[in-house]
Structures are given as structure tokens and as C-alpha cells.
Symmetry: C2
Subunit: 475 residues, 2 copies
Amino acid sequence: MNTLFDEPLKVVNCGLGNFAENLQLAGGDVVNLTWQPPAMGDVEAGLALASLLRHPRVEQANQRAFEAYLAAQPVLVDVRSAAEAIPAMTQGRRILHSGPPIAWADMCGPVQGAIVGAILFEGWAANAAEAERLARDGAIELEPCHHYRCVGPMAGIISPSMPLFVVENKTNGEYAYSNFNEGLGKVLRFGANNEEVLQRLHWMKAELAGALKAAIRALGGLELKPLMAQALHMGDEIHNRNAAATGLFLKRIIPALLGCGLPLEQIQRAVAFMAGNDHFFLNLSMTACKSMLDAAAYVPFSSMVTVMARNGVNFGIRLSGTGDRWFQARANPVEGLFFPGYGVDDAAADLGDSAITETAGVGGFAMASSPAIVKFVGGTPADAIGHSRRMQSITLGGNPAFTLPSLNFAPTAAGIDARKVVDRGILPVINTGIAHKQAGVGQIGAGITTAPMPCFIEAIRALADQVDQCSGNES
Amino acid sequence: MNTLFDEPLKVVNCGLGNFAENLQLAGGDVVNLTWQPPAMGDVEAGLALASLLRHPRVEQANQRAFEAYLAAQPVLVDVRSAAEAIPAMTQGRRILHSGPPIAWADMCGPVQGAIVGAILFEGWAANAAEAERLARDGAIELEPCHHYRCVGPMAGIISPSMPLFVVENKTNGEYAYSNFNEGLGKVLRFGANNEEVLQRLHWMKAELAGALKAAIRALGGLELKPLMAQALHMGDEIHNRNAAATGLFLKRIIPALLGCGLPLEQIQRAVAFMAGNDHFFLNLSMTACKSMLDAAAYVPFSSMVTVMARNGVNFGIRLSGTGDRWFQARANPVEGLFFPGYGVDDAAADLGDSAITETAGVGGFAMASSPAIVKFVGGTPADAIGHSRRMQSITLGGNPAFTLPSLNFAPTAAGIDARKVVDRGILPVINTGIAHKQAGVGQIGAGITTAPMPCFIEAIRALADQVDQCSGNES
């Protein structure tokens, strides 16, 4: 004891930083270790977590799920209408939306506005008031995109006659789908539904879809992973920045388009539209990610996250091991940069299926590859590198197909392990656009957010029950 | 003295590292300061340098030159044949080559091969033997591109009927020119001159030139600096990596091309050619750099470097203050990565006008923006950042038009000050392709090299003479 107090004190502080700060102010030599109790101190959840950590069944399941994710080879093979691609879309009147399930009455402004637009687009109503009445009265089935292997950015609306990108995972022959990106400004995905928006949707259906279908077929399909990998070396994180990926896509698609025997005017309009929209590739990035993660889904006992999605109210996740079940919580706020004239009070809650990119290890997880994106979502290039590094502590491994130059070509962190999220209190980081809370105003900013912890805690408890039941059955 | 030897020694070593290493091995506490005598210890040059450092006339001249470089607004305005663009090209038989002046007999293999190709392309000879005889006998005027405001990569060959990009500096109305990039493989710029090469040149002249001319005019010109700035945020350094810049260029040029009323087949071939060549933008990057540096040329007393260029034997530089005079030295070897089957013995010496990019602050100077290029030229992303930082010590300032995301958007170091190069012993870094020493084999690698010190020493002595004479006249 005497020795201790005779020598200069060297203190390691664990947990709350205030203790360390006070010692530092008093001239003490302190190392501060960030730590918080697992499962945010929830004892039951902590026990559930403990039952899963290093559990051989979970470890094996995760290995299987992660390998299936790594092995996926998403190839853009076709364009089809939603009705052609998804049989359920021809039964009754059905519209798909982003995020976990939600009733019309609970939906946020932009999603309601976009659904009204889709009803008008389908000709199911003569005007917006009638369309809204149909939706409110339950005459339209409203379901998540994810229930039909689809993803859509922001409101994520897909109705039967909309054209979809068809992506095949060549490893298992399964398909994934997304709608086309409409560009910025007044667009359906932000809840706009005026004549301009509907005209564009009609043109996409009548002309762009056919042009892309012909070009994709002429190419014999387009492998998406190599294209995404290149874009990650060109400053994109392929969620909020798709400038390089869109350029690479155009470099492949335009030569094919020119050889399809289409009228020059049709090609001109298609090229002008795509070349004028740096986010055109986003929906393809999302579909490729959906395809890779669907390959990893439905592996019993796996704690790998296969879906993260937001409906503008709630954030929902799915684990591979718990199949179709959603685990939901209120979405976390977005820290970001607002366009001039807008602020946090104007913002809708976090919205869209585009967090599928982070779930697949790109987007926020690959921010180190995209220092220039901090000009859009806020922060510094050093922050961007920090995000990518931090995600390494909550993932199952690295994806060697996607490497990050500024981390000396380290593979991007991928395969979120819900156990690690709950254990370490580190939340998956997500780059995201910010929508105005009123339908149709559009994007008002962009920023960084995180998936909310309660989803993961609930998911871990469900998985622990599954493992527990199964062990019970065996014993 | 007693105090000194009683205390533990702390040593600062200045200059040769070996002394520091020995002390370190013996357990000493050493800080090693890299230092070497200015002007490589050449006393006369050192005195010349001393007369120029902080000289008000030089400082003012440099400020004027650097400001003109910064203010330049290079815009791609047209495509013209060399004969149309450069009156001298219609007088006699003239062919331009890269680097400083050099006689036929002294030229390296690739440049001789390319000149033979150009003579055949112009129809001045029926076969290669006859073409070679014409060149050897002095029947063809051979002059540097730089003497006619032109630049060309590698052999840099320009003959009268070749189409040139025409770039206008909108700030001063002056023009700069470059030929079209032919792609990789068997190409004239590496000295190949077979039928395939000539056919491609004929097609470029007959069809591609007209298509690009029409599209550029339809666009009303294309500002190059914003495009280069974007590419620097997308992993290009716009010398050895032009993938993003080429994509950005295509995104602008293709929609224009589609609206020019040209036959679809012509558009198809033009698009397929450009989309198939990730270096297509290189020649535009070079022309823009030439345009910016020409704006800074001919400012008396300025020590700013306005040209760095290699002819495959010698490296030559020009200073703004010394006008048309070349300062030459043997080119330094290239440290790099060779393609399989090739090694350093197969390599031609450093070749081409493309070091104009480094002279303008991009290329090797902007390597921090292009971590992925190290896969091509060797080294690590940290090395790339180191190169960009080191160049800050030999330049007049930063170019705010070109920012480097991984240096937290610092402007790229630009405006090489020959005084600083000689004073600090830090040589301008250059990313470069490596040509096979035999004509026509093509590129066999890529790497990093430096401009040789003797050019800068000679230039400093010449500038000191100029300043000295002028001071003499005045006094």
C-alpha cells in the first residue's frame, strides 16, 4: 500500500469517461478505456447473449451464412415488370414499400404520398383523394419489398406495372429485384405524385425499360460485383455516392444499347436520363446487396444480420437464423448536413431499404473508400476511415471482393453479427439521405445514422430462445 | 563538458544516415535529420541559387506566373487536324515528337518506330525501309511537340493530317493541342507501325475526329478543370489513372454525340472505342495541363517550371523565366512494376510529354487522391500520400481547383520552383508508363520516377545569369 502511494499513480479508467477527465485535470496519468455493459445493461438480454457467444451451433451457422454471402455472384440479367417478376403482384391490388411492415395509418408523409402516386400510376384511382381513400380503406394490399425479394430506396414503392431490375445470383439461381432510380427533385420515392412524376414513371415503363432490357440481354447479363469493386476504388461507397458506379455501368450499357436496333431517339432519351443521374446505379447496388444477403438467409441459429430497413417510422432487422421475423425499433435520428433552408424539424425519420448496402458491407461500412462523401454526409475523411475500421468489430469477417484502398486494400467489414453489436455496444453505421417529412418535398439533406440497439437486443433474445429450445429438444 | 558526459547523450545527426544508425545500434538516443548540401554540393550552383533565393524580382515573377497558371480556364473547344491547327505543319514535311529536341540518330527505338509509322500514315513513303531512309536523310523535320503548344504521351508523334484536340484557355484566348489516345496494345505511341496501327489512325482521322468535333461543338465546348477536379475525387491522378475522368468525359460527350445527326454506326464505333480505353482522357488531361502552364510561361525571372518532358533519352525542363530554352539531363531510371515476362533490361528510358501533368500539380503530385494507383505503379497508399506531401516543399503553392480528399481536401501542390528543388534536393515525382526499348512492343510496366537534378541546376544557373545581367544593366 505504501509503495502504491509513494509512486506516481498510473490509472486505467474503464467505462464512464468523466472519472478519467477529472483525474487528468488533476494532473494524473490516466488511460481511458471505452466500455459499457453488454446489452445496454439489460440483464436478461445479457444472459441471452452469453448463451450465444461461442456457441458451436451459432458459429457453424454463421460460417455457413457468411460463406453463402461471399459466394454470391449477382448478375443483372433482365428487366421485367413487377407483375411478370412476382406472381403475387397480379393477385388483387398490391403495392410494396420499404422497411418493415406498417399500416397505412401509421405511415409517414413521403410513403403515403408515394403510395398515392403508385395508385394513380396504375390507374386504380382518378385522383389523389380517391387514391388515398382506397389506401385508407384497405382496398390496396401494402407489404414490405423485402417480403418479395425486392428492395427500394426511400419510400421504395413498387406497383405491378413498374419495371424492375432482375438480378440473378448465379451461385444459387435465385432472383432479387429493385425498381429504377428516378433521379433527384420531384420523385415518387420522396412522396411526390404530381403529373411530372407520373409522366416520368410512364416513360420509364414505356421506353426506358425496353431499352435496358434489350441492352442487358445483348450483353448477356452484367456481373455487378466487379463493377461495385471498381467503384469502391473510385470514391464511391455505392450507397450515397454512386457517381463512379453509374459511370462504369453506362460504359457497359451504352455500347450495348447502341447495337440493339432501337430508334436513335429512344436511345438518346435513355442515355440522357441515365447520364443525368449520378444515383442511377444505387438501385442496382441495392439489388446486388439484397441478392448476396438473401443467399445468407434462413440458416438456422445464425446471428448474421441479413436485412436492415426503415419505413420512415421504424427500423427493422432480420437475422439469418430467425428467418422472416422482423425485429423493430424507432429509427435513430440522422446526424447530417441539411440543404439550405431546411433543418432537423423538417426531416422525416430514417427511411428506405437502402441500408441493405450497409448490411452487405458497403455504404457506411465502406466509407473509407469514399473520403469525398464526407462533403455530402458530414465529417472528415478521417471519420470515414474510423467508421470502416469500427465496423470490423461487429462483423463476421471481410469481403475480399470489396477492398478499401485507403485501408491499404483491406477487405470491407461484412456480415454483421448481432451478438457482437449487443456485446460491444457498437451500432452499424448507415449513410443516408434525409427526406422531408411532407410528401413530395424531396431530399433535404444527407447524413450518418445508426441502426437502433433495441432491434438487436430483441433479435438476440429470439435467437437465444431458438437455440435454447433446440438444445432442450436434444437433451 | 563534465555535465555533457555525465548525462545520457541525446544526438541530432544531420546528413548521412549511417552515423545515426551506428549510434542507434550502440543504444544511443538519436534523431536523424535528412539533409544534403544544396545543389548537390556544386559550389557555383549553390552561389547561383543563393543569388535567387528571396530575390524580389524572382518572387514577383513567380507570383505572376503562378497566378496565371491558377487563373487558366482550359476548355475543349474543337477538333482540328494538325495542319489546320498549326501553320508550320503545312510547310515541308514535319513530324512532332515528345520531350526536348533530339536528332533521328540519337532517338530511342519506340520514337523511331513511331516516326516511321507517321511517315507511312501520311503516305510519304511506300514502306518502312523507305520511311526510315527519309527520316535518316533529314527529309523530314523532326521537332518537339512543345515547340508548337502541343503535347503527346510516350513517343508523342503528331503529323500534319492527325486530328488534334483543341483546348482554349478562356482566360487569355491561347490554344494548346494534343493527339488522340489510341488505347493499349500495338499503338503508334509505343513505336508500333504495322497495318493494324495505321488502320486505326486512319479511322480516327476519317471518323472519330468528325464525331468528336460535332459533339464538342454541340456541347459549346467542355470545361476541363471541373472534370479533372471530380476525377481527383474518384481515384484518378489523371496521369496513369484516367478511368474516372474518361467516364466523366463520356457521360458528357455521348449524349451530345447522339444528338449530332450522325449515322448510328459511326456513333457506335466511336463510343465503343472510347468506352474501351480507360486512358482516353489522358491526352485531354495533358492538353489542359499544357494550357495552364503555357499561361505561366515567359515571365522574365520566374523560376517556375513550365515544362517537364522526356524523349526516351533525355529529360528536359523549361522555366517560365528562361523562355524557350531547354535544360536537359539523362532521364532517371523508373522504379516500378513490370508486366509478366519483362524486366528492367527491356525498358526504354523515361519517355513522353505526359510529365506535363506533374508540372501542373496532378499525376504523381496528386497521388494521394489515387490510392488504387499503387497497384499499378507500385508502393502503398501511404507512399502515395507521402509523395503528395513531399511535393509541397518544392512548389510555389496549392491549386484550390484540385483538392485531395485523403489529405482532408488540401489543394494539390503546384508550380514547381526550380530554386526549391535545388535547395532542398527533393526531386519532382512522376508517375509513368514504361515502354519496351524496341519499337512496337508496347507498354511493359509502370512506375515512379523523378526528374533528374542536373536539369534544375543548369536552369538555376541560367536564371541567375539572367538576373545578374539585368541587375548589372540597371546599376
